[in-house]
Amino acid sequence: MKRGRALAAAVGVLALGPVTLTAQQGPELVARGIRAYNDVDADAATGFLRRWFASAEASGATLEDRRQALVYLGAAEVLRDNGDSGSAAFERVVKLDPRYRIDELLFAPEVTTLFGAVRQRTKAVAVQVPPLTTLGADGAYYTARLFASSTHFIQVQVRRPDGPVARVVYDGPIGDSLDLRWDGRDSTGSTVPSGSYYVEVRSGAFRNLATRVLQLPLEITTQRTDTLAHPAPPPDSLRLPERRASGPGVEALAGGVLAGLAAAVLPMLLAPDANLEAARYAVAALAGGAGILGFAREFPGSMIAGNRLANEQRDQGWQELVAVVAAENRTRRAAARMVLHTGEPIVADLTGR
């Protein structure tokens, strides 16, 4: 059985010579481990690779080197019939790079099968975002492409560090990959203020049961255009009285009646012995009648239709002005530029907690 696996590995190595050659250009211990694996010396390969992981060089290695070392370590462990150790190495590979797919031409079927099984049960995503995004008034979005190790549930949030969630961007399943868009607004529809945020991707086999959290630091700078102040309502001093005061009505009544009484009675007081003419009653009736009509027209408390209309027109004009300013402010707010800087991802594994 061992011989069969080794043969398959050798065939894979021979078939993909250039790839192997490239792999050998990594760190020395990793290269020696890979050569040992290709020589079907799984024990030696395991030894070289574990020595490398224990070295200081491994902690500062690139993702490519670490992934390659882990893949060969897992494959060597499989050849050594250490399935659990192989699974552990492959699980680290999947978490390190969820997009990674093992080359079925390079590795033996039992290696690729185990890797596939590990990938299926390990729920992780990789996120690809532009380092710098600018959102303007043209309806642009902050875009992110998510790559899943296998089908599972994710929830993507934008949140303040140790603060409340500003917006849940996505909550649902992910298959192979998923494109997400965020318009820079919180759950109320308002543009989020400048500051530090995280794009947080919570992964798990079941909804709302995250086993892995990936956080992308997000520095947001919003450049707003000043909005206009709403116009002040018309001052009360400009408001015309809508109901008649008592003064004009009383003046009309008193003035008309007094003049009428004067025309009727005054002659009797000024010239009591004279033969007075009845014509004075016509003037008395005219003046008194005019006073009564004037009082009726200026009846205290009655509505002044013209003033009311003028006030309504003034109020309507003000409201129209407010609407114009509000529309202008909406335009200015929409025109605000938002600059988003995305940092390096931080991953937290919750299964060990």
């Binding site: 003046e251 003035g255 003049a259 007081l269 004279a274 007075l276 014509a279 004037g294 200026e298």
Partner: protein
């Protein structure tokens, strides 16, 4: 009754003079003229004899205003006919009044008034120094105004010489502005009574007047 009327006139004049009142808004200098006619009824009592005359007086006035002061000049003239042709006479009257507008609704005036009764054989002149109070109110906005005028003569000089008794007069009516023009129409009733000392002779004039006033205010 007569004393009550006189007391009223004096009280109005006194109140107007004593109360400073609120000055109306300072207005630019202005002027106005008016022309009209009055249907006149005259009752002339001499002793126990009463002569009644009627006629039409033509009336013309001019006014100049500066600040709160008004200078009014008036003239009216007309023939008064009686039942007997021998009793017909012509009435000519002129006055010059200097007035002050204390408020929008009250104006006090004073000045001389000369009245002449002209017959073919003689002319009799009454020169009276008079004080007047004019009250006005807006009846339907400023375009329709009612007014009352009360006047009292404080002294008089008659020719041929007669001892002056008393004289008082009053007028009430209504003024209507014609549209938005500076032209006003005015309808009023006026009465004037003058007597010599002792009441042996009393001249009473009543009139129903119609005027047109050209005034920017």
């Amino acid at each position: 009754m007569k004393r009550v009327a006189i007391a009223t006139v004096v009280a109005v004049l006194g109140a107007g003079a004593a109360v400073p009142g609120r000055a109306p808004a300072q207005a630019p200098p202005g002027a106005g003229v008016s022309a009209g006619a009055s249907a006149v009824w005259e009752e002339s009592t001499v002793g126990t004899a009463v002569i009644r005359r009627t006629g039409v007086l033509l009336d013309g006035r001019a006014r100049a205003s500066v600040w709160r002061l008004d200078l009014d000049l008036g003239y009216r003239q007309g023939s008064l006919s009686a039942a007997s042709v021998a009793n017909q006479r012509t009435l000519v009257e002129g006055d010059a009044m200097l007035g002050v507008r204390l408020t929008r609704w009250i104006k006090l005036e004073g000045g001389p008034r000369v009245r002449a009764y002209v017959t073919p054989t003689a002319t009799e002149r009454w020169l009276m120094w008079e004080g007047r109070a004019r009250l006005a109110a807006h009846v339907r906005g400023p375009s329709v105004q009612s007014y009352v005028v009360l006047a009292r003569a404080f002294s008089a000089n008659l020719r041929p010489a007669l001892p002056f008794g008393q004289a008082q007069s009053g007028e009430a009516g209504i003024s209507v502005r014609l549209g938005r023009s500076p032209l006003w129409s005015q309808v009023g009733y006026w009465i004037s009574q003058a007597s010599v000392s002792g009441g042996q002779r009393v001249e009473t004039l009543q009139g129903l007047s119609v005027k047109f006033v050209l005034s920017p205010k």
